[in-house]
């Protein structure tokens, strides 16, 4: 069995103003794994990630990194292992040039100049930023900043990489590139990856396992397990990937299968297999229940309509109150 990279036990946290952000969170991430943390806005994902290298300290809960308890060993020990890429790249780039920013971490680790330069070069190369070395970070586009902030963490060569919303605000190509880079880092260098994200379409491709967090851990499992659990999805403001939705539609048209694919790659595989099993052919048709099933399906995914209706009612009630 693999070693545990991160172990979290009974973590809870309340902000100084009394807002309870985390309650009794338990989690275990193994070395070399890719794990996603999903949950509604305000679920405490960012708060949770900030505990992983000891920026925040929760009440008597425990966070262990490769068996070392955060808070008991020296801070540098943890920082060397865990690199956090923040939600907003502007928070992360605070030096006058990209070079300075990438060198900042290694210098603080106490490395020699030679080695610092080497690491910076390598990080720049990995993210395709070599020509940006002397540019000022705040004159870059959002996507470039996002990559630079990842590079600034990579230069510390952490064994665990923690990313908060890495794909938000990126254009589709940059998003795809970033996903590719994250997978590469994991596969080639064995870096453990933990990602908080709302980008459900990226999850199946990006991670092995998903935690649903909403103050506490609500559910845990493979993407397939999580995305099949309608209850959990509904209660935590989640949705399934578009591909999954579409296969549910196909199912209404008589497509027969147990486990629906979540990404385009899986879809291709899935289709190929199904066609082959069925002797090279696949039949879709409108059967007696098709329309009914499609209708049901649609209403399942259109939370917002029912929601809006509710709000209207709320507005009316309110109107009554005012006039009364």
């Amino acid at each position: 069995m693999k070693r545990e990279a991160i172990t979290v036990r009974n973590l809870c946290y309340a902000y100084p103003d009394g807002t309870i952000a985390l309650e009794d969170v338990n989690m275990a991430v193994y070395e070399g794994e890719r794990v996603a943390i999903v949950g509604p806005n305000g679920a405490g994902k960012t708060t949770f990630l900030l505990h992983l290298n000891g920026i925040l300290r929760g009440c008597d809960g425990q966070v262990e990194v490769f068996g070392k308890s955060v808070g008991e060993v020296k801070k540098e020990e943890i920082i060397k292992d865990v690199g956090i890429v923040f939600q907003d790249p502007d928070d992360q780039l605070f030096m006058p040039t990209i070079f300075d920013d990438l060198a900042f971490g290694p210098i603080n680790l106490g490395l020699k100049e030679e080695e610092v330069r080497e690491r910076v070069k390598k990080a720049l190369l990995t993210l395709g930023l070599s020509s940006y070395e002397n540019r000022c970070p705040h004159h870059l586009s959002y996507g470039e900043k996002k990559k630079a902030s990842l590079a600034a963490v990579m230069s510390m060569e952490p064994r665990i990489l923690v990313l908060d919303e890495p794909t938000a605000n990126l254009d589709p190509r940059s998003r795809a590139e970033l996903i590719g880079i994250i997978k590469e880092l994991n596969e080639r260098e064995g870096i453990t990856i933990i990602i908080a994200t709302h980008d459900v379409n990226a999850i199946p491709e990006l991670v092995d396992r998903v935690y649903v967090l909403n103050k506490r851990v609500i559910a845990e499992g493979t993407s397939h397990k999580i995305f099949s659990d309608v209850e959990v999805l509904r209660e935590n403001n989640l949705e399934v990937p578009e591909v999954f939705k579409l296969f549910e539609v196909l199912r209404c048209f008589g497509y027969n299968c147990e486990e629906l694919p979540l990404s385009i790659d899986e879809a291709v595989e899935h289709l190929t297999r199904t066609v082959e099993i069925n002797g090279g052919h696949l039949h879709l048709h409108i059967h007696e229940h098709t329309h009914e099933a499609v209708r049901k399906l649609k209403s399942k995914y259109e939370h917002h309509l029912s929601n809006l209706r509710m709000k209207e009612e709320g507005a009316q009630t309110n109107g009554t109150k005012r006039s009364g």
Binding site: I55, K75, E76, I79, D91, F94, F104, G105, N108, L109
Partner: protein
């Protein structure tokens, strides 16, 4: 983590001081503060201090909040007190090795300390009992030059921008292993980071300003609070000012 300077945290309470018309309140309190800090007699200053405490209690602002803020003042004023006690020329009353404490030093030190505390305590019933934007509007109504009113308002707002950015940069630096020491490297890094902090706050401030503009801000502070000066406000203001004047009359006739 640094704390936000929330002087108006208790502005939503209800008390005679909260109900006092902002314009009348500002004028009356300024008058009172100015009179107390120039009283030459320790005894009279003590009366002034008690009056300040009375107004503070009247305002219902929690004492713990005020004491938290007084820490700073205490630090500054008490160090001055000690310095004066040891260096003020006059009658020696105690001696430690080559240092000596004088009676005049103690007297002047006490005088200064109590005056300063009175002034600071009065700040709470004065501006702690209205929201900062209400105060801005009051200043505008009091015909303070518009450029100053606007600068006060924006600076107040930007202080939070700055502190937020400061905090973010701080978190980012710590999470990459930075420690503030007195090494040349640390100082130079702080210098660079401060430059960056400045530029970023400037840019953020510009964007905030744009957002305010695109929601109709035109340079005249507006709030939902409408000012209405009533008889009660006049009476309160006149009695505070009257008290301030009488302090000086008493001290004039005192031997």
């Amino acid at each position: 983590m640094i704390e936000y300077p929330e002087i108006d945290r208790y502005a939503s309470l209800d008390s005679p001081m909260h109900r006092f018309d902002p314009r009348a309140k500002i004028i009356a309190f300024l008058f009172l503060i100015f009179s107390i800090v120039i009283i030459p007699e320790l005894k009279i200053v003590i009366i002034g201090l008690f009056f300040a405490i009375f107004l503070l209690i009247l305002s219902r602002i929690p004492l713990s909040f005020v004491l938290g803020h007084l820490k700073w003042v205490a630090l500054f004023v008490l160090s001055l007190y000690v310095m004066l006690a040891f260096t003020f020329p006059g009658k020696e009353i105690a001696k430690f090795y080559f240092l000596s404490i004088t009676a005049e030093g103690l007297y002047t030190g006490s005088l200064i300390t109590l005056r300063a505390f009175s002034a600071v305590i009065l700040i709470f019933p004065m501006i702690g009992t209205m929201r900062f934007d209400t105060m801005i509007k009051a200043l505008d109504k009091l015909k303070v030059p518009n450029i100053l009113v606007q600068m006060l308002m924006f600076t107040y707002r930007y202080i939070f921008v700055f502190m937020d950015e400061f905090q973010r940069i701080g978190t980012a630096m710590r999470s990459r292993g930075f420690k503030l020491r007195t090494t040349l490297y640390a100082l130079r890094t702080i210098g660079k980071a401060m430059g960056m902090l400045f530029v970023r706050s400037y840019e953020r401030a510009e964007r905030v300003y744009r957002a305010m503009h695109s929601r109709g801000y035109t340079g005249n502070p507006k709030t939902l609070v409408e000012f209405e000066i009533r008889r009660r406000d006049y009476i309160l203001a006149v009695s505070i000012i009257g008290f301030a004047v009488s302090l000086h009359i008493i001290s004039f006739f005192l031997p």
